[in-house]
Amino acid sequence: MSTILSDELLSELMAVGQVDVLVGLPTLNHSDSVGPVVRAAHVAFNRELARERTALVNVDGGSTDGTPDIVRDASIVDRETLVASQSLRTGHRISAPYHGVPGKASALRTVFAAADLLQARAVVVLDPEIASVTAESVVALVRPALAGEADFASPAYARHPLDGPLVTQVVRPLFRAAYGLPLQEPLAGEFGCSGRFASRCLDEPVWESDDLRLAIDLWISGMAAGDGLRVSEVGLGPRRLTARPRPAVAALVPQVLDALFTSLRLHEARWTSLTRGSLPLRRSTRPASLPEPGTTVDAEAYAALFGEGLAALGPMLERVLPSSILDALRAAAAPAGSVRLPDELWAAVLLELAASHRHATISRDHLVRAAVPLYLGRVASFAAEVEGLDPEAADERLEALCRNFERSRGDLVARWTAPAR
């Protein structure tokens, strides 16, 4: 008998009973970072959410570094907070392994199943790698659903457009074009949602699919575009990740593109049939000013890699991009050491890549790898364009890119639904 919830977890949930707020925390060997995240939730439970019925459910993928123990034992260390914070109710903190295919999708399914069973009014999923999480940010993600104002609350971080260019140049604009949802962080691993949203996700028949494993975060964000759901975006200040080894760009770009295109495929019935325009978001106050970029983009090196990649991968790209686009890319790469890849051209490239991924025109793995130099070219182009601009002006430039993508929505649907070339 295959079940989502283990008997041990079910038994713990029975003891918890109905809750107002459920915080889900998927982990896998996060002993280095999970403590502060649990503490932030704990403080939120004891301080801002002292009257609510709360539970923290940690679903662990089989950590070997003692992560579940840390989750169970983490406590408030700051004496002042300890004295000032006292929940009126018994606190529940559960740590349990999840059933099913290893990966975050199974972990989230378990969180949603727990939320569904406990009839949680608000659910927050936290990313154990976000070192900047605070009790305030937990509460900010909880509030929209708890107040009945939104079904999905996505985070917005105060970061420069050149921080996380994979999000700003690829994920954000294409997601917005498809779903009409102007989310800043569709790829975020942390979000808040209503119990209704969690149940709706749980009822989707995709949980056993391998594709979902790749694309779970974007799939969740895509679910927010569903009928009758209200979406909000909450400002959480600067974003800081726990220091740990991360994949290099050459590995990360294919991974994210694969996830993005796959999520579009999983949700294609949802977004291709949308007739509405861009959905207004309920936004909490945005930070007063954006910071300078945390890392610098080596535009010259990226431009060089773009040119080289374009030349080396020409035969493969010819199979997925129309010659007009390919010619335009080659022209953009012509002045050695610099690149000018305009918004319209970049939108056309991404649309073609998405459609080719859907039709598997060439091996999907090859396709997303071949896209790496194109991405580098676009980042180099954008970096050159915003060089010298203050962060707000650069952000406006980014917004213009997203609007450009939004205007190309018709083309995206047409290319996506057209027969394979």
């Binding site: 079940t3 919830l5 079910l10 949930l13 009973g17 569904d116 069973l117 406990l118």
Partner: protein
Amino acid sequence: MPDDLWYKDAIFYELHVKAYSDGDGNGMGDFPGLLTRLEHLKGLGIDCVWLLPMYPSPFRDDGYDISDYCAIHPKYGTLEDFRAFLGAAHERGLRVITELVINHTSDQHPWFKEARSSRESPKRGYYVWSDTDDRYRGVRIIFRDAEMSNWAWDPVSKTYYWHRFFSHQPDLNFDNPAVREEIWRVMRFWLELGVDGFRVDAVPYLVEREGTSCENLPETHEVMRELRRLMDAEFPGRLLLAEANMWPEEVRPYFGDGDQFHMAFHFPLMPRMFMALRLEDRKPLVEIVERTPAIPSSCQWGLFLRNHDELTLEMVTDAERDYMYGEYAKDPVARLNLGIRRRLAPLLDGDRRRIELMNALLLSLPGSPFLYYGDEIGMGDNVYLGDRNGVRTPMQWTGGWNGGFSTADPERLYQPLISNPVYGYQAVNVESQRRQETSLLNWTRRIIEVRRSTRVFGRGSIEFLNPVNHRVLAYVRTLGSERVLVVNNLSGTAQAVELDLAGLAGAIPIEMFGRSLFPRIRERPYVMTLGPYDFFWFKLRWL
């Protein structure tokens, strides 16, 4: 998009206009008064209001003797008042069905007056006449206490006319196409006004044939089929509900192939619910449900605990009737015809736990439930008011003047309010129960809300479990992949029960009122304990 099968999920509420709320202070309820009470119905979670007869009538049978089909009794208001009420109900998402009393008219109806005036009258053929009273011999007399024969002598035209009920209620002649056209005109009149359907009174008796019981004849079904066809063609989504106090297998033909009635009352189930409770034994209830034939998928049973009539014991054996009289009508004055003229709360000794259990059964067995006005607050009755008037007393809205029913002098009320210390309006009324979180009114609202959270109760199949403990009634309702397990303790003492739920192994039972989780069901027997008259509704989830 409107759902033409809305009645399968609906909660119905039966009320008398005269008894509900008096808008003009003349001591009699009316439509302007009723309009002001719609929020109560909406708040309760009602989907459809069933109005008892509201037509002009000499009131010799509480309005079931109609003298004008296309008007409102002046005491209840005007047609404009009715329109305003109907519009306000629809605005709140409430449907309204009315009575269609077509077997007979009042002898004061212009059709009958004209028909009896001369044997050559064009309306003569609207009724059933005979020069002798020996036609249709052997046909049973329904009101034995009041009538000696189904024929009555008309001294005006010097012939006999046929009546299955009181002699002042001559039967219409449904063999006459003109009568069928008239009835369709009547239906059309109300449907065009916007009513959502009809509860059709005394259905089995429409047509007479020599040598038969004159009940449930094929020709009667043909009449109904024709009316249904006409209604569906012009007014899809409207409802026909049959009153046929018969065994389920006799009522079954009134559903036809889904081309006669949408709904029919399940009369024999009701007394068996009371019997099972008093016997502390599920047997009578399970037997009658299992004996109930399948009906077309578009059709539905109407279930009720109490209504405007006596708790009828026609559909029980003599032994069962004796038992019911002994247990529920120890005072002979409570007995009337073949039944017991009591309301729900007094029948159950005012025991809140039993009232809740009976309502829980009503709302979880297959069918659409009908609540009787006042039972949501546990109103009492007055058996000394004669006939069935004791269960038709004014609705108790507040503890103030006339229970908030009317501003008239108390002596002017159409009949007195219940005023005893236990059930009187000072103690039992909507206002005080609205304010008290744990009141029966708020509990009723809550259970309706829970029932409405799923379609499985209105549309699902039922499968009884058979635990050794006969005091426990358990069943599984299934609709597609949705399943609800219902467990009831019919006894006044705590019970333990082992349920064989192997077929549901893996499911997590979630109690539907408090959303508490129960241990996962396994192959082995599932042990439960229940307090006196406890019941559980469990939604089963496979997670």
